[in-house]
Protein backbone atom coordinates (compact mmCIF):
# COMPACT_ATOMS: atom_id res chain seq x y z
CA UNK A 1 0.00 0.00 0.00
CA UNK A 2 1.60 3.22 -1.09
CA UNK A 3 1.55 6.12 1.30
CA UNK A 4 1.00 9.73 0.27
CA UNK A 5 1.91 12.50 2.70
CA UNK A 6 0.63 15.93 1.64
CA UNK A 7 2.31 17.65 4.58
CA UNK A 8 5.82 16.61 3.55
CA UNK A 9 4.75 16.21 -0.11
CA UNK A 10 6.13 12.70 -0.31
CA UNK A 11 4.94 9.48 -1.81
CA UNK A 12 6.39 6.19 -0.57
CA UNK A 13 6.16 2.87 -2.37
CA UNK A 14 7.38 -0.59 -1.40
CA UNK A 15 9.11 -2.92 -3.85
CA UNK A 16 10.03 -6.49 -2.86
CA UNK A 17 12.74 -8.59 -4.52
CA UNK A 18 11.72 -12.26 -4.34
CA UNK A 19 13.42 -15.45 -5.50
CA UNK A 20 15.14 -18.67 -4.44
CA UNK A 21 18.09 -18.77 -2.06
CA UNK A 22 21.38 -17.41 -3.48
CA UNK A 23 19.72 -16.09 -6.67
CA UNK A 24 21.20 -12.60 -6.13
CA UNK A 25 18.46 -10.51 -4.52
CA UNK A 26 20.80 -8.94 -1.98
CA UNK A 27 23.43 -8.45 -4.71
CA UNK A 28 20.89 -6.42 -6.72
CA UNK A 29 20.35 -4.10 -3.74
CA UNK A 30 24.08 -3.88 -3.00
CA UNK A 31 24.78 -2.80 -6.58
CA UNK A 32 22.00 -0.19 -6.49
CA UNK A 33 23.34 1.06 -3.15
CA UNK A 34 26.91 1.26 -4.48
CA UNK A 35 25.95 3.12 -7.65
CA UNK A 36 23.40 5.57 -6.27
CA UNK A 37 24.16 9.18 -5.51
CA UNK A 38 24.64 9.51 -1.71
CA UNK A 39 21.99 12.28 -1.55
CA UNK A 40 19.31 10.05 -2.98
CA UNK A 41 19.80 6.96 -0.86
CA UNK A 42 19.45 6.09 2.79
CA UNK A 43 21.44 3.55 4.72
CA UNK A 44 21.18 -0.04 3.52
CA UNK A 45 20.07 -2.34 6.31
CA UNK A 46 20.85 -6.05 6.10
CA UNK A 47 19.54 -8.43 8.72
CA UNK A 48 21.80 -11.34 7.84
CA UNK A 49 23.33 -14.39 9.51
CA UNK A 50 27.05 -14.62 10.27
CA UNK A 51 27.53 -16.25 6.89
CA UNK A 52 25.82 -13.34 5.10
CA UNK A 53 22.64 -15.22 4.30
CA UNK A 54 19.59 -12.95 4.61
CA UNK A 55 17.84 -13.73 7.89
CA UNK A 56 14.87 -11.37 7.80
CA UNK A 57 15.28 -8.74 5.08
CA UNK A 58 17.55 -6.24 3.38
CA UNK A 59 16.19 -2.72 3.13
CA UNK A 60 17.26 0.17 0.93
CA UNK A 61 15.39 3.49 0.83
CA UNK A 62 15.79 5.32 -2.46
CA UNK A 63 14.61 8.78 -3.55
CA UNK A 64 14.04 8.91 -7.30
CA UNK A 65 13.14 12.59 -7.68
CA UNK A 66 9.97 14.64 -7.80
CA UNK A 67 6.81 14.29 -9.83
CA UNK A 68 4.48 17.29 -9.75
CA UNK A 69 6.07 18.52 -6.53
CA UNK A 70 5.90 15.16 -4.76
CA UNK A 71 9.15 13.55 -3.67
CA UNK A 72 9.03 9.96 -4.86
CA UNK A 73 10.62 7.43 -2.52
CA UNK A 74 10.96 3.73 -3.10
CA UNK A 75 11.65 1.33 -0.26
CA UNK A 76 13.38 -1.74 -1.66
CA UNK A 77 13.21 -4.97 0.34
CA UNK A 78 14.55 -8.45 -0.28
CA UNK A 79 13.15 -11.57 1.33
CA UNK A 80 15.24 -14.44 2.73
CA UNK A 81 15.32 -17.01 -0.07
CA UNK A 82 15.91 -20.13 1.97
CA UNK A 83 12.83 -22.36 2.06
CA UNK A 84 12.50 -22.52 5.86
CA UNK A 85 12.14 -18.74 6.26
CA UNK A 86 8.64 -18.72 4.79
CA UNK A 87 7.08 -16.95 7.79
CA UNK A 88 9.49 -14.02 7.30
CA UNK A 89 8.75 -13.84 3.56
CA UNK A 90 5.02 -13.51 4.23
CA UNK A 91 5.61 -10.60 6.60
CA UNK A 92 7.73 -8.69 4.12
CA UNK A 93 5.09 -8.95 1.40
CA UNK A 94 2.62 -6.97 3.53
CA UNK A 95 1.82 -3.67 1.88
CA UNK A 96 3.83 -4.43 -1.26
CA UNK A 97 3.35 -2.14 -4.30
CA UNK A 98 5.59 -3.95 -6.78
CA UNK A 99 7.48 -7.26 -7.08
CA UNK A 100 10.72 -8.25 -8.79
CA UNK A 101 11.21 -12.01 -9.17
CA UNK A 102 14.93 -12.74 -9.42
CA UNK A 103 15.43 -16.10 -11.13
CA UNK A 104 18.71 -18.01 -10.96
CA UNK A 105 19.50 -18.94 -14.57
CA UNK A 106 21.58 -22.00 -13.70
CA UNK A 107 20.08 -25.26 -14.96
CA UNK A 108 20.39 -26.96 -11.56
CA UNK A 109 18.31 -24.15 -9.98
CA UNK A 110 15.41 -24.60 -12.39
CA UNK A 111 13.23 -26.42 -9.83
CA UNK A 112 14.14 -23.92 -7.09
CA UNK A 113 12.92 -21.07 -9.31
CA UNK A 114 9.60 -22.77 -9.94
CA UNK A 115 9.15 -23.56 -6.26
CA UNK A 116 9.95 -19.98 -5.25
CA UNK A 117 7.57 -18.49 -7.84
CA UNK A 118 4.75 -20.75 -6.63
CA UNK A 119 5.60 -19.73 -3.08
CA UNK A 120 5.43 -16.04 -4.08
CA UNK A 121 2.04 -16.51 -5.68
CA UNK A 122 0.55 -18.36 -2.71
CA UNK A 123 2.05 -16.00 -0.10
CA UNK A 124 0.62 -13.03 -2.01
CA UNK A 125 -2.77 -14.71 -2.17
CA UNK A 126 -2.68 -15.14 1.61
CA UNK A 127 -2.28 -11.37 1.89
CA UNK A 128 -5.11 -10.78 -0.56
CA UNK A 129 -2.97 -9.93 -3.60
CA UNK A 130 -3.03 -11.42 -7.08
CA UNK A 131 0.41 -11.54 -8.70
CA UNK A 132 -1.20 -11.07 -12.14
CA UNK A 133 -2.62 -7.71 -11.01
CA UNK A 134 0.45 -6.35 -9.25
CA UNK A 135 3.25 -4.35 -10.90
CA UNK A 136 5.61 -7.25 -11.51
CA UNK A 137 8.81 -7.90 -13.49
CA UNK A 138 11.20 -10.85 -13.81
CA UNK A 139 14.98 -10.79 -13.86
CA UNK A 140 16.99 -13.73 -15.22
CA UNK A 141 20.15 -13.37 -13.17
CA UNK A 142 23.59 -14.99 -13.45
CA UNK A 143 23.56 -14.92 -17.27
CA UNK A 144 27.41 -14.93 -17.22
CA UNK A 145 27.65 -18.44 -15.78
CA UNK A 146 28.41 -21.39 -18.12
CA UNK A 147 25.66 -23.81 -17.04
CA UNK A 148 22.62 -21.63 -17.63
CA UNK A 149 19.25 -22.46 -19.15
CA UNK A 150 18.32 -20.48 -22.25
CA UNK A 151 16.11 -17.44 -21.79
CA UNK A 152 13.45 -19.19 -23.90
CA UNK A 153 13.40 -22.15 -21.48
CA UNK A 154 13.19 -19.84 -18.47
CA UNK A 155 10.49 -17.71 -20.08
CA UNK A 156 8.32 -20.69 -20.95
CA UNK A 157 8.17 -21.84 -17.34
CA UNK A 158 8.54 -18.64 -15.31
CA UNK A 159 6.97 -15.99 -17.51
CA UNK A 160 4.07 -17.44 -19.50
CA UNK A 161 2.15 -14.15 -19.21
CA UNK A 162 4.98 -12.13 -20.73
CA UNK A 163 5.62 -9.58 -17.97
CA UNK A 164 8.67 -7.32 -18.54
CA UNK A 165 11.83 -9.44 -18.25
CA UNK A 166 15.52 -8.62 -18.03
CA UNK A 167 18.79 -10.51 -18.30
CA UNK A 168 21.19 -9.65 -15.51
CA UNK A 169 24.59 -10.22 -14.00
CA UNK A 170 23.97 -8.57 -10.64
CA UNK A 171 27.58 -8.28 -9.36
CA UNK A 172 28.57 -6.28 -12.46
CA UNK A 173 25.29 -4.37 -12.50
CA UNK A 174 24.18 -5.60 -15.92
CA UNK A 175 20.37 -5.41 -16.00
CA UNK A 176 20.06 -4.27 -12.38
CA UNK A 177 18.88 -0.70 -13.01
CA UNK A 178 16.80 -1.73 -16.02
CA UNK A 179 14.89 -4.09 -13.72
CA UNK A 180 14.42 -1.46 -11.01
CA UNK A 181 13.31 1.23 -13.46
CA UNK A 182 10.79 -1.12 -15.06
CA UNK A 183 9.11 -2.09 -11.80
CA UNK A 184 9.20 1.50 -10.47
CA UNK A 185 7.55 2.71 -13.65
CA UNK A 186 4.83 0.06 -13.38
CA UNK A 187 4.16 1.08 -9.76
CA UNK A 188 3.83 4.76 -10.69
CA UNK A 189 1.63 3.91 -13.66
CA UNK A 190 -0.62 1.93 -11.32
CA UNK A 191 -0.84 4.91 -8.95
CA UNK A 192 -1.76 7.10 -11.88
CA UNK A 193 -4.61 4.74 -12.73
CA UNK A 194 -5.64 4.82 -9.07
CA UNK A 195 -6.46 1.11 -9.23
CA UNK A 196 -7.52 -0.56 -6.03
CA UNK A 197 -7.27 -4.32 -6.33
Amino acid sequence: MSFINYASREINCKIVYYGPGLCGKTTNLQYIYAKTNPETKGKMISLATETDRTLFFDFLPLALGSIRGFKTRFHLYTVPGQVFYDASRKLILKGVDGVVFVADSQIDRFEANIESLENLRSNLEEQGYDLDKLPYVIQYNKRDLPNVATVEELREVLNPNGVPEFNAVAPTGAGVFDTLKAVAKLVLTELKKGNNH
Binding site: A7, H75, A184
Partner: protein
Protein backbone atom coordinates in the same frame (compact mmCIF):
# COMPACT_ATOMS: atom_id res chain seq x y z
CA UNK B 1 -2.53 -2.79 -4.90
CA UNK B 2 -4.80 -1.55 -2.11
CA UNK B 3 -5.87 2.06 -1.75
CA UNK B 4 -2.99 4.29 -0.76
CA UNK B 5 -3.17 5.90 2.66
CA UNK B 6 -3.37 9.63 2.01
CA UNK B 7 -2.47 12.03 4.79
CA UNK B 8 -3.49 15.65 4.25
CA UNK B 9 -1.94 18.61 6.01
CA UNK B 10 -4.73 19.00 8.56
CA UNK B 11 -4.52 15.28 9.49
CA UNK B 12 -0.75 15.57 9.70
CA UNK B 13 -1.04 18.55 12.03
CA UNK B 14 -3.43 16.65 14.28
CA UNK B 15 -1.03 13.69 14.43
CA UNK B 16 1.86 16.07 15.15
CA UNK B 17 -0.02 17.84 17.96
CA UNK B 18 -0.83 14.57 19.72
CA UNK B 19 2.75 13.29 19.37
CA UNK B 20 4.28 16.53 20.64
CA UNK B 21 1.94 16.52 23.64
CA UNK B 22 2.81 12.89 24.32
CA UNK B 23 6.53 13.66 24.18
CA UNK B 24 6.05 16.40 26.78
CA UNK B 25 3.67 14.46 29.03
CA UNK B 26 5.80 11.31 29.05
CA UNK B 27 9.04 13.29 29.57
CA UNK B 28 10.46 11.25 26.69
CA UNK B 29 13.18 12.13 24.17
CA UNK B 30 11.41 11.51 20.89
CA UNK B 31 8.15 10.18 19.50
CA UNK B 32 7.74 8.59 16.06
CA UNK B 33 4.61 7.68 14.15
CA UNK B 34 5.12 4.97 11.53
CA UNK B 35 2.78 3.12 9.23
CA UNK B 36 2.71 -0.67 9.49
CA UNK B 37 4.57 -1.04 6.19
CA UNK B 38 7.59 0.77 7.61
CA UNK B 39 7.14 4.31 6.32
CA UNK B 40 7.76 7.17 8.71
CA UNK B 41 4.84 9.58 9.05
CA UNK B 42 6.36 11.98 11.53
CA UNK B 43 8.97 12.40 14.23
CA UNK B 44 9.09 14.87 17.06
CA UNK B 45 11.62 15.62 19.84
CA UNK B 46 15.34 14.87 19.70
CA UNK B 47 15.57 12.68 16.63
CA UNK B 48 17.80 14.71 14.31
CA UNK B 49 20.85 12.51 14.92
CA UNK B 50 18.95 9.30 14.12
CA UNK B 51 18.42 7.52 10.80
CA UNK B 52 14.63 7.74 11.03
CA UNK B 53 14.01 5.87 7.75
CA UNK B 54 15.91 2.84 9.07
CA UNK B 55 14.21 3.16 12.45
CA UNK B 56 10.80 3.08 10.75
CA UNK B 57 11.61 0.06 8.61
CA UNK B 58 13.16 -1.94 11.44
CA UNK B 59 10.29 -1.10 13.79
CA UNK B 60 7.75 -2.30 11.22
CA UNK B 61 9.78 -5.50 10.74
CA UNK B 62 9.87 -5.95 14.49
CA UNK B 63 6.11 -5.43 14.82
CA UNK B 64 5.42 -7.77 11.90
CA UNK B 65 7.54 -10.50 13.50
CA UNK B 66 5.87 -9.91 16.87
CA UNK B 67 2.43 -10.11 15.23
CA UNK B 68 3.48 -13.43 13.71
CA UNK B 69 4.49 -14.70 17.16
CA UNK B 70 1.18 -13.53 18.65
CA UNK B 71 -0.80 -15.43 16.03
CA UNK B 72 1.32 -18.54 16.62
CA UNK B 73 0.11 -18.68 20.21
CA UNK B 74 -3.47 -17.74 19.32
CA UNK B 75 -3.41 -14.02 20.17
CA UNK B 76 -4.73 -11.39 17.74
CA UNK B 77 -1.77 -9.08 18.36
CA UNK B 78 0.63 -7.98 21.07
CA UNK B 79 -0.45 -4.37 21.42
CA UNK B 80 2.79 -3.07 22.92
CA UNK B 81 6.42 -4.01 23.47
CA UNK B 82 9.35 -2.43 25.24
CA UNK B 83 13.08 -2.67 24.48
CA UNK B 84 15.15 -1.65 27.47
CA UNK B 85 18.63 -0.29 26.94
CA UNK B 86 21.27 0.86 29.39
CA UNK B 87 20.49 4.55 28.76
CA UNK B 88 17.76 4.76 26.14
CA UNK B 89 14.73 2.54 25.73
CA UNK B 90 11.96 2.16 23.18
CA UNK B 91 8.29 1.70 23.93
CA UNK B 92 6.35 0.56 20.86
CA UNK B 93 2.56 0.43 20.60
CA UNK B 94 0.13 -0.37 17.79
CA UNK B 95 -2.51 2.28 17.13
CA UNK B 96 -5.87 1.24 15.66
CA UNK B 97 -4.22 -1.83 14.05
CA UNK B 98 -2.80 0.54 11.37
CA UNK B 99 -0.01 2.66 12.78
CA UNK B 100 2.92 2.19 15.13
CA UNK B 101 3.75 4.67 17.85
CA UNK B 102 7.37 4.60 19.07
CA UNK B 103 8.51 6.49 22.16
CA UNK B 104 12.23 6.80 22.83
CA UNK B 105 12.90 7.57 26.48
CA UNK B 106 15.79 7.75 28.91
CA UNK B 107 16.46 7.66 32.65
CA UNK B 108 14.56 10.90 33.29
CA UNK B 109 11.22 9.10 33.03
CA UNK B 110 9.85 5.63 33.67
CA UNK B 111 8.31 2.92 31.54
CA UNK B 112 5.16 3.14 33.66
CA UNK B 113 4.61 6.82 32.92
CA UNK B 114 5.35 6.29 29.22
CA UNK B 115 2.86 3.43 29.08
CA UNK B 116 0.08 5.51 30.71
CA UNK B 117 0.69 8.50 28.42
CA UNK B 118 0.86 6.28 25.34
CA UNK B 119 -2.50 4.72 26.21
CA UNK B 120 -4.10 8.19 26.33
CA UNK B 121 -2.39 9.40 23.15
CA UNK B 122 -3.33 6.18 21.31
CA UNK B 123 -7.03 6.91 21.80
CA UNK B 124 -6.62 10.33 20.21
CA UNK B 125 -4.51 8.95 17.38
CA UNK B 126 -7.00 6.14 16.72
CA UNK B 127 -9.76 8.69 16.10
CA UNK B 128 -7.58 10.59 13.61
CA UNK B 129 -6.62 7.31 11.88
CA UNK B 130 -10.27 6.39 11.42
CA UNK B 131 -10.86 9.76 9.81
CA UNK B 132 -7.80 9.42 7.52
CA UNK B 133 -8.81 5.93 6.39
CA UNK B 134 -12.39 7.01 5.71
CA UNK B 135 -11.13 9.93 3.61
CA UNK B 136 -8.57 7.75 1.77
CA UNK B 137 -11.25 5.25 0.81
CA UNK B 138 -13.91 7.74 -0.15
CA UNK B 139 -14.72 7.62 -3.88
CA UNK B 140 -14.05 11.34 -4.11
CA UNK B 141 -10.48 10.92 -2.84
CA UNK B 142 -8.29 11.72 -5.82
CA UNK B 143 -4.74 10.47 -6.03
CA UNK B 144 -2.39 13.40 -6.66
CA UNK B 145 -0.91 11.08 -9.26
CA UNK B 146 -4.13 10.77 -11.22
CA UNK B 147 -3.11 13.57 -13.56
CA UNK B 148 0.53 12.71 -14.11
CA UNK B 149 1.51 11.84 -17.62
CA UNK B 150 3.70 9.06 -18.98
CA UNK B 151 6.21 11.80 -19.78
CA UNK B 152 6.38 12.78 -16.09
CA UNK B 153 7.25 9.18 -15.22
CA UNK B 154 9.82 8.93 -18.01
CA UNK B 155 11.47 12.17 -16.88
CA UNK B 156 12.05 10.67 -13.44
CA UNK B 157 14.26 8.03 -15.00
CA UNK B 158 16.22 10.40 -17.17
Amino acid sequence: MSAPMVIHEDDFQQFADVCEQLNQDACSRAVFLIDKNGQLILATGEYQYLDTTALASLTAGNIAATDGLAKLIGEREFSALCHKGEHDSLYIAIVASQLILVVMFGDETSEGLVRIRVAKASEHLARIVEDVIAKSQSPSANSPFAEISDDDIDTLFG
